[in-house]
C-alpha cells in the first residue's frame, strides 16, 4: 500500500551527489557508511522526534536524492552534539557531513531564516548579541570591563566568503521550517 505521492522515481536521482558531498570539506567520508544505524540509535534528537534520522539522510544522499536532501528541513535538525561522531564504526563524521550538506544547500539558496538572522547579527555587530552602551553600563554595574564590537573585520570576512548566500536578501527558498 503506497500513496502515489510518496512513490519515488529512481530515474530522478543524481548518482553524482555522493561525490559532490565527498568533495565538500566535512563530507569526505560519506562513502564509508554501511547503514548500521549506530548514529541514529544514540542520537538525542532522533530520540525525541521522527523528523530527524541521520542514517536515513545519509542513505538518501548515497542513493542520489539530491533535491529531497537539499530542500529538506531535516539536515538542519542535527544538534551537532558529536555523539554519533564518537561512535560511528566507519568514522563517517556525521555532524561534519551534515554541515557539508548544509553548505551545499545554502549555496543553492536553501537556508532557514533563523540562520540568515544570525548572519545579519554577525554583519552588524561581529557577534550574535549586540554590545553597546547599555550592555556595557550593565557590565560596569557588575564590575566587568567594557567590550567593543568588532564589526568591520567580520563583515569583511563574510563579504569575501559568502557575499550572497549568507545575506538576507539572497534567501528566497526557505526549507519548510518545523516550528
Amino acid at each position: 500500500m503506497s500513496d502515489e505521492e510518496t512513490i519515488i522515481d529512481v530515474s530522478t536521482f543524481d548518482p553524482h551527489f555522493r561525490d559532490e558531498i565527498a568533495a565538500e570539506p566535512g563530507g569526505e567520508h560519506i562513502r564509508r557508511c554501511y547503514s548500521c544505524s549506530t548514529c541514529t540509535a544514540g542520537c538525542p534528537v532522533a530520540g525525541v522526534t521522527d523528523k530527524y534520522n541521520p542514517r536515513r539522510i545519509i542513505h538518501m544522499a548515497l542513493l542520489g536524492m539530491r533535491e529531497q536532501v537539499l530542500t529538506s528541513e531535516f539536515v538542519w535538525l542535527c544538534s551537532v552534539c558529536y555523539t554519533c561522531y564518537e561512535r560511528c564504526p566507519q568514522d563517517v563524521r556525521i555532524p561534519e557531513l551534515m554541515n557539508a550538506v548544509r553548505n551545499i544547500a545554502v549555496r543553492e539558496g536553501h537556508i532557514p531564516s533563523t540562520f540568515t538572522v544570525q548572519m545579519e547579527k554577525l554583519r552588524e555587530h561581529g557577534r550574535l548579541y549586540e554590545i553597546d552602551d547599555y550592555e556595557n553600563e550593565r557590565r560596569a554595574e557588575y564590575d566587568l570591563p567594557p567590550i567593543h564590537e568588532e564589526k568591520t573585520a567580520v563583515h569583511q570576512i563574510l563579504d569575501r566568503t559568502c557575499p550572497e548566500t549568507c545575506a538576507e536578501e539572497a534567501d528566497k527558498k526557505h526549507p519548510e521550517e518545523a516550528s
Binding site: S79, Y85, N99, Q118, R127, V154, T165
Partner: protein
Amino acid sequence: MTNQYALYLGCTVPVRGMNYEMSARKVAERLGIELVDVEGFSCCGFPAKPLDWQAGLLMAARNLALAEAQGLDVLTLCSACTGTLTEANHRLKEDAQLRAWANEQLSDLGRAYKGTVRVRHLARMLYEEVGVERLRETITLSADGSHLLADFGFAPHYGCHYLKPSHLYDGFDDPENPQTLDRLIEATGARVVRYEDEGQCCGGGILGFDEETALLLTKQKLDHVTAAGADALVLICPFCAIMYEANQRRVEKLYETSYKLPVLYYPQILGLAMGFSLEEMGIKLNRVKPRKLIERVSESASQRVSDEV
C-alpha cells in the same frame, strides 16, 4: 603551568552569562592566573560554519591570530567557542595549503595566523593546569572544620563540545564516561549526584530552528536531574545554561510541570567554597534562585562575622 591567558568570552557570556564571567575572573585571580582582555575578539565562527565553512574558519583564525599577537594561549568559557577555535587551530596547523589560503585572506585584515597558541576551556585548565589537589587547598573550611558545600549534591552537565570530538582534545577526558567535572565538583567539598542519561545534549544547537524539539531535549535532563534529587545542575557552557535555566520556565509551562532546579556555573560553586560572597559570584543573576545555597552561604558568613566580633 601557564599563568597568563587571553580570556575569550565569545558572544553569549558577556551579555547573558555575566555570573559565569564574574566567577571565572575571581576564581582565576585567586589561583594566580592572569586573564588578559584582548581588544578585537569577535564571534568564534560557530554560527557561520553550517552556512559557509570558510567564513567560520576565517573568523576562528582571526581570533586565534589576535591571541597569538599577544603571545597568549586562549582561555574559553563557552564550550561551542572551545570546539570551534580548537578545530580551526587543528585544521590550520595540520594543513599547510589551508593555512596559506587563510593567511592570504587574513593579511588583508592585517592579521597572520602562525599556529603558536593553545585553546583551553576553563574547566580543563583548572583540572589539568591547576589540578584538583591545589584546588582543594584553596577551599575555606568553617570554624568547625566542615566544608561549606558538604551538604550539597550537584549534578554535573558536561555538555557536548567540552568533550567532543575527542580527537580534538587529546583524549584529556572520556566522552562516554567523563570524569573531569566530577573531580572538580568534589574538590569544592560537594557530592556528585548521578542521574539518568548524563551525556544528553541540551538541545541548544537546534533551538532557533525547531524550538519544540530542542525543548524536549532540555526537558529530559530537567526530569532526570530532578528525579535524582540534586540541589543544582552544575555546568560549564553559557548555552547549556540558557537551555536549562533561562528556558526552564518555558518548559514548565509547556509541559505543566515544576522543577525550580537551580543551575550554577562551576566557578560559582568553586568561588563560594573559596570564601567569595554570593554577590561576588553573581548569584543575583541566577534566574532560578538557589535558595538552599543562599541560606547556607549567608549563615556561614554571619557565623564568621560573629566569630570576628
